[in-house]
């Protein structure tokens, strides 16, 4: 630790909002949803001429919400601090997904760190624990090298907590290295599409079993800490932590597809939720801190 590191740490720890994170030296964004949507929006699919061209996986997406986590039995739950969190809600159909995205670019292909506090619950339509109603909660980056960095890939690290599938409580982290075949959209030759959140091809993260805190009635939630370290230089994950557990990332890999002609230096960040029953899945974020070493 240098003197500068010590000073940075002291300043961070004096700020209650930052003190619950361990960011790299430069904070790219610290999104506390008490300040609005902070640039998080819905992931719309590609199309040309008609919205009918959008793949169904994307067509189901809708806008995230500023939520107080209101419950019919005890009222607003609130965030980690402040009143609001970002809520990602699926439709009430088994297998439905929804995604919230923040679209950035990067200025140095070095280490970045994502930290967030998250929780999830199904819509409390039944007075049951409903712990197997959510299929998954997860996040991903959509990345591409800079235009002068030579031939490279578009790289999409995906991680999801597979909570349950077909009613079985599985509780494990998974990753993905395959997307769906790339399809052209329209006739102009400018647009292609693929659905990287398709339900197939998820693989178990070795040692990725984890039991989370899931409170005892269908409305109580507890917030979880998440941290994911990734190096934009090597395009490799370096560390993944949820609550007290740090997972080995040797067995992890990303979706890698050829670089696209208009996505240079892209740094997109997404969180998603998926339901395993005909009941809405809700994922909540409060807050998200993205930092980098530059």
């Amino acid at each position: 630790m240098t003197q500068l590191d010590d000073m940075r740490r002291a300043i961070r720890e004096a700020d209650p909002q930052l003190s619950r994170f361990d960011p790299l030296p430069r904070i790219i964004c610290l999104d506390d949803f008490d300040r609005g949507m902070c640039g998080w929006t819905q992931l719309v699919g590609n199309y040309e001429d008609s919205l009918d061209a959008m793949l169904p996986g994307y067509a189901q997406h809708s806008q995230a919400m500023l939520s107080t986590l209101p419950n019919w039995d005890f009222g607003s739950h609130g965030g980690v601090d402040g009143s609001y969190a970002l809520k990602i809600a699926t439709r009430p159909k088994k297998g439905a997904q929804n995604v919230a995205i923040k679209r950035l670019t990067f200025r140095k292909p070095g280490p970045i760190r994502l930290e967030a506090y998250f929780t999830f619950k199904p819509e409390a339509t039944d007075l049951q624990l409903s712990e197997t109603d959510i299929r998954s909660f997860g996040f991903l980056y959509d990345l591409q090298i800079g235009d002068s960095s030579g031939p490279g890939d578009r790289v999409m690290p995906h991680l999801r907590f597979l909570n349950a599938q077909d009613g079985k409580h599985l509780q494990k982290w998974q990753f993905k290295r395959k997307t769906t075949p790339i399809k052209p959209i329209g006739n102009a030759g400018k647009t292609i599409t693929h659905y990287h959140l398709a339900p197939d091809d998820w693989e178990d993260l070795p040692g990725g079993e984890q039991r989370l805190c899931y409170n005892e009635i269908p409305t109580k939630v507890n917030w979880h800490y998440l941290r994911f370290d990734f190096d934009l230089g090597s395009m490799q994950a370096t560390r993944f932590q949820v609550n007290d557990r740090v997972f080995a990332m040797d067995g992890f890999d990303c979706i890698r597809i050829p670089a696209m002609k208009n996505l240079w230096c892209m740094l997109n960040l997404c969180f998603f939720a998926e339901t395993d029953t005909d009941k809405r899945a809700f994922a909540y974020l409060d807050s998200v801190c993205l930092s980098g070493e530059f």
């Binding site: 609005g36 809708s62 019919w72």
Partner: protein, 111 residues
């Protein structure tokens, strides 16, 4: 600080037949809203009025009382102003047999 102001697309290219509604949207932070409905295709059949519905929990809904025409032609737009809607809000319509409309529903919310 400027007040919060959000455009939320809550139904995009959805075909409504029978009893239909936009997904519940939580907007308790907003003091006012305008709902716009645009027809993305030429509607079919006899169109009913759309209604605003509100909810405490996103599951149990009441008619708020506002009703407004659905757009009668492709790319036509209708709207409804709203205040005092509490928390969850949605647009609902009950279309008769043979009627169909493909909608883009947007909420414009201001704190």
């Amino acid at each position: 600080m400027l007040p919060e102001n959000l455009t939320a697309v809550v139904a995009r290219n959805e075909s409504w037949t029978g009893t239909s509604a936009s997904e519940p949207y939580e907007a308790g932070w907003a003091k006012e809203a305008i709902v716009f409905v645009r027809a993305l295709k030429q509607p079919k059949g006899s169109l009913p009025k759309a209604r605003i519905e509100i909810s405490a929990d996103g599951m149990h809904w009441c008619a708020e009382g506002s009703e407004f025409a659905l757009p009668a032609a492709k790319d036509a737009v209708t709207f409804q102003r709203l205040a005092h809607f509490g928390n969850f809000v949605r647009v609902a319509a009950t279309l008769p047999e043979g009627a169909e409309i493909t909608v883009l529903v947007t909420l414009h919310l201001k704190a």
